[in-house]
Symmetry: C2
Subunit: 346 residues, 2 copies
C-alpha cells in the first residue's frame, strides 16, 4: 500500500536484512527499521516495533531465515534449534507466528537457502491472501457505499492489503465512490491512529467517529455495510475481535446493516468449538485512564483523562455470536458463519 505516494510492505527481507515499518511510531512518525540479524528481529516483535498477527508472522519467518543464514556450519542444527525457541518466545500467544516459524524451520533443516525461500513464499502468501480477501469483499461493495470499520484490520497488520480494509482499498481503486466511518476504537485508538493513517495515505475518503456514534449513523440510514477483522474465529463462526465489535454487530442487526468479518482462513481455529471457549485478555487499566500523543509543538505527553482516584476495566476483545454475522470474507471466498460452510474451507 501507499505511504506518501510510495509503495511499501509492512515487512520485507533483502539479503540478510529484514526491513519493517516502525509501527510503534505511527501515526506521528514514519520510519523504516533495519534488522541486521535474527536476534534484533526477535526484539522488534517483543517490543512491538512490528505488530498485527500477519506482520508478526512474516517477521518471525524472516527471523528464522536470518538465523539459518547466520548459523555457523559446524553448529548449524543446534543454532537454528535454539533460534526457533527464541523466536517462538517473543509473543507466545500469536498463533500465526508458530505456524510460519515451523514451516521456515523445516525448510532451514534442509538449507539456509530453502529457509530464505520459504520465508519469502509465506510472506508473499500473506500478501496474496489479503488481495484475495479484497477481491471477494469488493464484490459486496456498491458505488456510493458508506462502510463502517472498527479497530485496525488493515495492511499494517499483515504484509500488505490487510483483511477488513483490503476490500475497501480495491473498491476505492476500482473507481467506486465510497466513504469509510472509522471507529476511534478506544482505549488504544487503533482506528483513529492506524486505520485513519492508512486511509490518509491511500487517499480513501473517511471520517473518524467516536465509538458511541455507530448506531446513530445506522439509525439515519448512513451505514451501508460494516466490515471488521478477527483475532480468532471458532468452528461455529463465533468471532473474537477488538472490544466493541460485539456492540456494533448488535446495532447492525437491529438496523439490518450487513455485518461482515474479513479474515484469512488461518484465523479460523477448528479446535475452538464456540466463542465461549475463547479467553478474553484483560489489559492494563492505564490504557483507559491515560492517553498519549503530541501537542501542537510536536512534544509528546501522557495525560490523565479521568477523575483522579478512578479505577477501570479494560477487556481487550469481545466475542460476536455467529447469529449476528452476515458473512465471513476469506481468501477462499465468502461464506456464511455456519459449521458446515466453515468446514468446507479446509
Amino acid at each position: 500500500m501507499l505511504v506518501k505516494g510510495k509503495h511499501y510492505l509492512t515487512v520485507w527481507m533483502e539479503g540478510r536484512t529484514v526491513y519493517m515499518i516502525e509501527q510503534n511510531l505511527l501515526p506521528f512518525q514514519f520510519r523504516i527499521f533495519e534488522s541486521p540479524n535474527y536476534q534484533t528481529s526477535c526484539m522488534t516483535i517483543r517490543d512491538m516495533i512490528t505488530r498485527g498477527a500477519g506482520a508478526i508472522g512474516a517477521t518471525a519467518g524472516f527471523a528464522m531465515a536470518q538465523a539459518a543464514l547466520e548459523a555457523p556450519k559446524e553448529t548449524y542444527q543446534a543454532f537454528i534449534d535454539h533460534a526457533r525457541k527464541e523466536i517462538e518466545a517473543t509473543r507466545p500467544t500469536a498463533y500465526n507466528l508458530f505456524f510460519v516459524v515451523e514451516k521456515v524451520y523445516e525448510a532451514a533443516c534442509k538449507s539456509p537457502e530453502k529457509a530464505f525461500e520459504e520465508a519469502q513464499r509465506l510472506a508473499q502468501e500473506n500478501v496474496d491472501d489479503g488481495k484475495k480477501i479484497g477481491e471477494f469483499g469488493n464484490t459486496l461493495i456498491k458505488d456510493g457505499y458508506r462502510i463502517e470499520t472498527h479497530c485496525n484490520a488493515g495492511w499494517l497488520g499483515f504484509v500488505d492489503y490487510g483483511s477488513a480494509l483490503s476490500p475497501i482499498y480495491l473498491a476505492n481503486r476500482s473507481g467506486k465512490k465510497i466513504h469509510v466511518w472509522v471507529d476511534e476504537t478506544r482505549p488504544r485508538s487503533q482506528g483513529a491512529r492506524l486505520t485513519a493513517w492508512e486511509m490518509v495515505n491511500e487517499n480513501v475518503p473517511f471520517d473518524i467517529i467516536p465509538d458511541n456514534a455507530g448506531a446513530h449513523y445506522m439509525s439515519k440510514g448512513m451505514v451501508d455495510m460494516m466490515i471488521v477483522g478477527a483475532d480468532r474465529i471458532a468452528a461455529n463462526g463465533d468471532t473474537a475481535n477488538k472490544i466493541g465489535t460485539l456492540e456494533k454487530a448488535i446495532a447492525a442487526k437491529y438496523y439490518n446493516v450487513p455485518f461482515y468479518i474479513a479474515a484469512p482462513c488461518s484465523t479460523i481455529d477448528m479446535n475452538t468449538k464456540t466463542g465461549k471457549d475463547i479467553p478474553i485478555e484483560e489489559r492494563s487499566h492505564d490504557e483507559v485512564l491515560y492517553s498519549n500523543g503530541p501537542d501542537k509543538q510536536g512534544d509528546f505527553h501522557t495525560i490523565m483523562t479521568c477523575a483522579p482516584g478512578s479505577s477501570a476495566k479494560n477487556p481487550a476483545f469481545d466475542v460476536t455470536p455467529a447469529e449476528l454475522i452476515t458473512g465471513i470474507i476469506t481468501n477462499k471466498g465468502i461464506i456464511k458463519p455456519t459449521i458446515e460452510e466453515i468446514k468446507s474451507l479446509f
Copy 2:
C-alpha cells in the same frame, strides 16, 4: 452531595452573592466561584463555569434575583427587563433556563424580595425533584446490582442529587451493595471525568469502562440494569441523550437488561411528537481529534489522538426509540414510555 466529605450544592445564593462549583476545572481541581452580581452570573453560564440543564436553570434564576436586588429604585422595571434579556441570551437553547427565568422575573415585577424567594424555591424544587427520582429509582435496585450509566446525569448537572445517579446514591446510602459501570463517554469523557469524580467523592464502588465494553459485560451477565439521563423526551417516549445512549439501549434489549431513563418531568417536551423531530447538534471535530488533561507533574496539555490529516464527525446526541426503553423514572413516579402514561404526568 459530598465533596471530600463535606456537603455541597452545585450552586446556591446567600445575600446578593451566588456561589457555584467551578465545573470547568473538574475533575482535576475543586473550587467555588463567587459571583457578586447578575452580569458575572451571566458570564458563568456563558463560559460554562456552571453546566448541566438543572444547574444552569438555577444559576439563571439566581442571576435574575441578583438583578432585582441590584436594580436602582428609579429605573427598576427597565433594569430587570434588560437583565432578563441578557440572562436569556447566555445559552439560548437551554429550555430549563427560560422556564426558571420567566418565573423569577414575574416575582421580580412584584419586589426584589419576592424574586429572591422564588429563585430559592425553584432551586429547592430542583433538589426535591432529584431526590424523588432517587427514591423512585431506588425501588428498582436490588442488593448486589451492577448498574451501567452513560455520560453524566449526576448532581453536578442539577442543584443536588441529579437524575440517573440519584437512585444510585440513595441505594448506596441505604446499604445496598452496588457497583457502577461508568461509560467513559467519548469524546468529551463526561463519564470518566464527572461521573467518576462524583462516585469517588460519594464513595460508590465503580469502574470506568471504555464505551466499547458495555455489550461485552452484558453478554457475560454482569450488568443488572442501566440508568441514563435525558436531554429531551418526546411525547411518545423517544429520548434524546448523549451520543452512545442508543447503542447501549440496543445492546440492553438484545441481552434483556432493563434500560431506564431518569429525568424530571420538565425534560418532557409535549410539543415534540417523536424523536424524529429532535435536531442533533454537531459539535467541534477537535473534540474527537484532540484530548486534554494534566500530566503526572500536573501540567495541562492538549494532545492529538489521531493520524495527522484526519477528519471527524461529532454528533453530540442520539435518539433512543421508546421501544428500547423499559421505563422512565420521573419525580412523579416510574412510567412506561407511552403517550398515555406520559400524558398522565401532566
